[in-house]
Amino acid sequence: MSIRGQAMIAGAFEHPLRKIPDISIPRLHAEVAAGALADAGLTFADVDAYFCAGDAPGFGPLSMADYMGLTNLRYVDSTDIGGSSYVAHIGHAAAAIAAGKCEVALVTLGGLPLQGPAFSAVNNPANPEYAFENVFGTTTPAMYALAAQRHMHEYGTTPEQLAEVKVAASHHAQHNPNALLQKVVTVEDVLNSPYIADPLHRLDCCVITDGGGAVVVVSPAVAKRLERQSVTVLGHGEAPKTAAGGRIDLTHTGAVWSGPKAFAEAGVTHADIDYASIYDSFTITVIETIEDLGFCEKGQGGAFVASGALRAPDGGLPFNTDGGGLCNNHPVNRGGMTKVLEAVRQLRGEAHPAVQVPDADIALAHGTGGSLGTRMGSATLILGREA
């Protein structure tokens, strides 16, 4: 069974704020849920499936279903694979809808890392790897720095090439009035920013923001009743990558597996992708991911981005036109939701005119979770403009 064309994203909403000092996390989830449902033209009473990850407070989906009064649920899923969770959730929702298990699936993300310690699945001493990794002083940027260092060693990737990912994102963010960082930066700006963990500078790292977002995934029958333009789910792939029992290879991501599954299910090729949301926790994340998704040869990601390919609207692979996690928003340190949201905007023709890809028919959204340096979630979605 394929999910191709069996489910639609009917509603999407991104919280407009990046610092939210006076709200609770449950209320934040409810606000983004209300926003996505209103966008779709639906109500909380229509929701019969709910998806959330570790950022949702309390007892998985039960606490939030309780808080939001979701009394008509017949399907729940709290898969947590870090920032990639919400990309995977849409694939799971589409499969559940295709199987007839539900018709209106709500997915929420929300959190307030600037207001206090955020939920972290990684820094938990109960994790079996903790005593063999975290005791040595691991940090999230350091994990990605290890991958960057090795990629540079094996493929000759340069700091300037890494920096171009941030530069392209900043060119897009200047048009987003909600973006945390709206200033255009240069390669020199990136290289002159202080090292966080060599070879990654401050500007190689994504922003940290309060905020959240939500999407509503519905059956084609429900979508047909709605006035709002929907986006069709064409394909989905996911694949955790592990540390492989001591055989870890830092130069590739789980996208080597999730990407081909999504392309095969969607029945499209790389040349068909008009726009791509590529998870950008760090600049190296983008370079490894576009290689692994097959947009360029392995090891050529640096040269690919340096050619200007990522810049909208004219680059060969316009990416993260909202400014991405590097400039716009990375709510709760989990960027998968915002990747989907900008892909939906592009396919509806509702991205900022300066970065809207003309006639965007097919978009890809890719999520990464955990870390390139150890174990990671990887999820790829391919979406299409409603026929």
Binding site: N123, P125, A126, P128, E129, Y130, A131, F132, E133, V135, F136, G137, T138, T139, T140, P141, A142, A145, L146, A147, Q149, R150, H153, P194, Y195, I196, A197, D198, P199, L200, R202, T242, A243, A244, G245, G246, R247, I248, L250, T374
Partner: protein, 154 residues
């Protein structure tokens, strides 16, 4: 405590020796890992090898993730290897590392073939490179364990 920012700048400019003053937080132990940590107090680095497929595993565990076998044997590593990748953590250190000097986080590939997360210590920044030969040293946590770290072998 040295401010991490200033120490990072000094290190980058002066090529100061790094990793001389790292904390040694005690890892949580459980019945599966207690023997491993006891060995570290004797200066021995253990790993597990599968009784069925003979593959070594890191982090060590009483299970083979390569073939799914429950039977493994603890073996002693030579304690030598090479740097597979490294970074210098200059900002954002957590827990016991917060507020300290920059330090090196690395993967070392042991001669037995597994790659392990660790720190490189007693090293000049200019010496750091992928492929650098290193040997294990053990930093006592004061709580029945020692952290296996590595210093340049030469």
């Amino acid at each position: 405590m040295t401010d991490a920012t200033n120490a990072g700048a000094a290190s980058a400019e002066g090529g100061a020796r790094i990793g001389s003053d790292l904390p040694a937080p005690a890892p949580a132990q459980n019945p599966e890992t207690a023997g491993f940590w006891k060995a570290t107090t004797e200066g021995r680095l253990l790993f597990t090898r599968c009784d069925s497929c003979s593959e070594p595993t890191w982090y060590p565990r009483e299970f083979c993730p390569h073939c799914g076998t429950l039977d493994v044997t603890w073996e002693e590593a030579a304690g030598t290897g090479t740097v597979y990748s490294f970074t210098i953590v200059r900002r954002g250190a957590l827990g016991p590392y917060a507020g300290g000097s920059p330090y090196v986080l690395a993967y070392v590939e042991l001669d037995e073939g597994v790659r392990m997360m660790t720190n490189i210590v007693e090293i000049d920044e200019a010496e750091l490179r992928i492929g650098l030969p290193v040997r294990a040293v053990f930093h006592d946590t004061g709580d029945g364990s020692a952290l296996p770290r590595f210093e340049p072998a030469a």
